[in-house]
């Protein structure tokens, strides 16, 4: 066994716990998980069946943790996991899985398949079988602070731009603020309007908030690649910043996996409960709305629908808030079939969109999302994840549809009157 494979196998053995053992023991090969997975439904290729994506791990489980399996191994009747096999499985575990979780929602014996894929990625990454695209992102996050190479001066430039446009100062490293706002590289680069939107909303709600110069990045490529060590480094930075600035709540931006990494995996990665809350920006907006702190003006009148990011809704439990917020600023909001908890994935999360070789597959899988759009024929689609936005725009472009995609936080901010106290230049 090569050094990497040995490491990978060791890691895989370590991550197998009672739930995983129970899941493997319960699978009856009914195939329902495939029917819930867009990579299978849109390609018809049974190799994309979710439970099949775990086959090497299942064999390892059998060989290492069951009496019968160990006996079989002893007498040479079992097939060992090989480097070649793990390399072959890379496509299944990364390109064709966005950790969307629909499979876990339908398995009749209760298997949490997405949980298993997440753990399997630990072994894949330790054995050197993670895709190049995500490896680069993970390394950049560790060395530079952002998966896309976004550095502090760039953030400061965006801050200046917002200050000029809105006349609202963007606080940085302000101790004692109620909220620490995290950003994602995707937003900083592609949707800089997000920062201005946050500033406007916080100003109107009268809340104190701050950015952190040592921890502005929420995207966790370590989690996507399945490397807990890397994921831990990224989360630790945020924990250090939040504790140093003594904030009450850390706000995760409009990025699905960043939320999952910080909100649900974070404390487990650093080994202790957080001394602060973690909320997705949509949760915070929902709270502000409930508390009557959001005073919006006017309505969007075109036909709008909402795409629930998987990590926010099904995997994160934030499902109602986006709907209340939509109803606050729109007059014609229609739901797609399967919207909410069972929404279909955009096809690009979990690091998938960073994998160039997977693009063709993603475009095929997008047919499912397209069918949801076709069912309601909206004028625009609203969502709350920067990656979903781009993945959907690419899919929409590929299928020659005419359908703009917008972000919910920005849409809310657009309906908040610009601050009166602004200097004339800030309009």
């Amino acid at each position: 066994m090569s050094a990497s494979l040995e490491k990978g196998v060791r890691v895989l053995k370590e991550v197998i716990d009672a739930p995983i053992a129970s899941y493997f023991s319960s699978c009856v090969h009914c195939g329902l998980c495939a029917e819930a997975c867009l990579f299978y439904t849109e390609t018809g290729d049974p190799k994309y069946t979710p439970i099949h994506k775990l086959e090497p791990m299942r064999r390892l489980y059998e060989q290492e943790y069951t009496v019968l399996g160990r006996l079989k191994k002893l007498i040479g009747l079992s097939k060992a996991v090989t480097d070649a096999e793990l390399a072959e499985w890379q496509e299944l575990v990364y390109n064709s899985c966005t950790l969307c979780g629909r499979c876990s929602a339908v398995c009749p014996v209760g298997n949490d398949i997405v949980y298993m894929v997440r753990k399997f990625r630990e072994g894949m990454s330790a054995s050197g079988n993670a895709p190049e695209g995500i490896k680069g992102a993970a390394n950049r996050t560790i060395t530079i602070g952002s998966p896309m190479g976004v550095k502090l001066p760039a953030v400061k430039a965006q801050m200046r731009h917002v200050q000029e446009d809105y006349g609202l100062p963007i606080p940085m490293d302000v101790e004692g603020s109620e909220y620490l706002v995290m950003l994602s590289s995707m937003e900083i680069m592609n949707f800089p309007e997000y920062l201005g939107a946050i500033a406007k909303i916080m100003h109107q709600a009268g809340k104190t908030w701050t950015l952190c110069s040592t921890a502005f990045e929420a995207t966790n490529a370590g989690m996507q690649i399945g490397n807990s060590d890397l994921a831990r480094v990224i989360v630790s930075r945020i924990v250090e910043g939040a504790e140093r600035l003594k904030v009450k709540t850390v706000i995760s931006p409009e990025c699905g996996h960043a939320y999952t990494a910080l909100r649900w995996e974070g404390a487990n990665l650093v080994g202790r409960p957080f001394s602060f809350h973690v909320k997705h920006i949509i949760e915070v907006l929902g709270e502000f709305q409930e508390q009557g702190l959001l005073k919006t003006d006017g309505f969007e009148t075109d036909r709008l629908t909402f795409h629930d990011p998987c990590q926010l809704a099904r995997r994160g439990g934030v499902i109602k808030q986006q709907r209340s917020l939509m109803n606050m600023v729109t007059k014609n909001f229609v739901e797609m079939p399967d919207a909410g908890f069972m929404n279909w994935c955009c096809g690009g999360g979990g690091g998938a969109s960073a994998i160039e070789e997977g693009e063709e597959l993603r475009m095929e899988a997008f047919k499912k999302k397209k069918s949801q759009f076709d069912a309601v024929k909206p004028d625009r689609v609203v969502t709350a994840c920067a990656n979903c936005r781009i993945v959907m725009e690419e899919g929409i472009e590929h299928y020659k549809m005419n359908l703009p995609v917008v972000g919910l936080t920005e849409m809310i901010a657009d309906h908040i009157p610009n601050p009166v106290a602004a200097k004339p230049e800030g309009n």
């Binding site: 009672a18 053992a21 129970s22 319960s26 090969h29 009749p108 014996v109 649900w264």
Partner: protein, 219 residues
């Protein structure tokens, strides 16, 4: 050995062996699975009524939104043969008498015509399920020797039992003995095959429900 000796063996030694292996197997498997334990979740929970492990143990018996229309055979066939098996095993008076002999417990059974009807439905459902496994690409792709073997292990007791009650195919004594032997094979292999889901389904659903319930998502 003649048919009486065969019947005596399966009722005596055979049954003892099968039940012993079954109980030992169940115990060993449950232990080797659940003793692995799991790490405590240190993230802040979001408590929502209706979202918990226990809720999912029951709720997961129903199809998820949109799935029944998508895979009716898997669900309906599955319901029929699972419920059918339960009726046959637990509500057929001769079986209840057997349990009474082994444990002292007894309960009222169903009229035998009803059990007969349930048995026929179960047999048909299982044949449909088998056909589905052969013809559907995903099921065929996933299926290994174990899937066909466990199907036979489950089907043969039902078929042979029905044949025995109806006095068909073989002389009653032999048919009954064969039926009991089939049941014993089922018992012996159950803990070591996917049939063990009969026990682990509760744990699996519970874990899934608990992990998601921690996030406030009712699965």
């Amino acid at each position: 050995m003649n048919e009486m000796q065969f019947l005596t063996w399966v009722r005596g030694t055979g049954l003892n062996l099968a039940i012993s292996i079954f109980l030992l197997g169940v115990f060993v498997r449950l232990f080797e699975i659940y003793s692995l334990g799991r790490k405590k979740d240190l993230s802040e929970p979001r408590n929502v009524a209706g979202a918990s492990g226990m809720n999912t143990v029951f709720r997961r018996s129903l199809p998820a939104d949109g799935m029944l229309k998508n895979s009716p055979i898997t669900y309906i066939g599955g319901y029929i043969f699972h419920i059918g098996l339960a009726i046959i095993v637990f509500l057929f008076v001769p079986h209840i008498k057997l349990f009474q002999g082994l444990t002292g417990l007894s309960w009222p059974g169903l009229p035998s015509q009803l059990v007969d009807f349930a048995t026929i439905l179960t047999i048909v459902a299982m044949l449909v399920i088998l056909f589905d496994r052969i013809t559907k690409p995903v099921k065929r792709y996933l299926s290994t020797f174990q899937d066909w073997f466990t199907w036979a292990l489950t089907f043969l007791p039902v078929l042979t039992g029905w044949l025995a009650v109806r006095h068909l195919l073989l002389p009653y004594t032999t048919m009954l003995a064969v039926h009991i032997l089939m049941v014993e094979l089922l018992l012996v292999f159950l803990p070591f095959t996917k049939l063990f889901h009969a026990f682990t389904v509760f744990g699996s659903r519970w874990y899934n429900g608990a992990v998601n319930g921690h996030k406030g998502v009712a699965v």
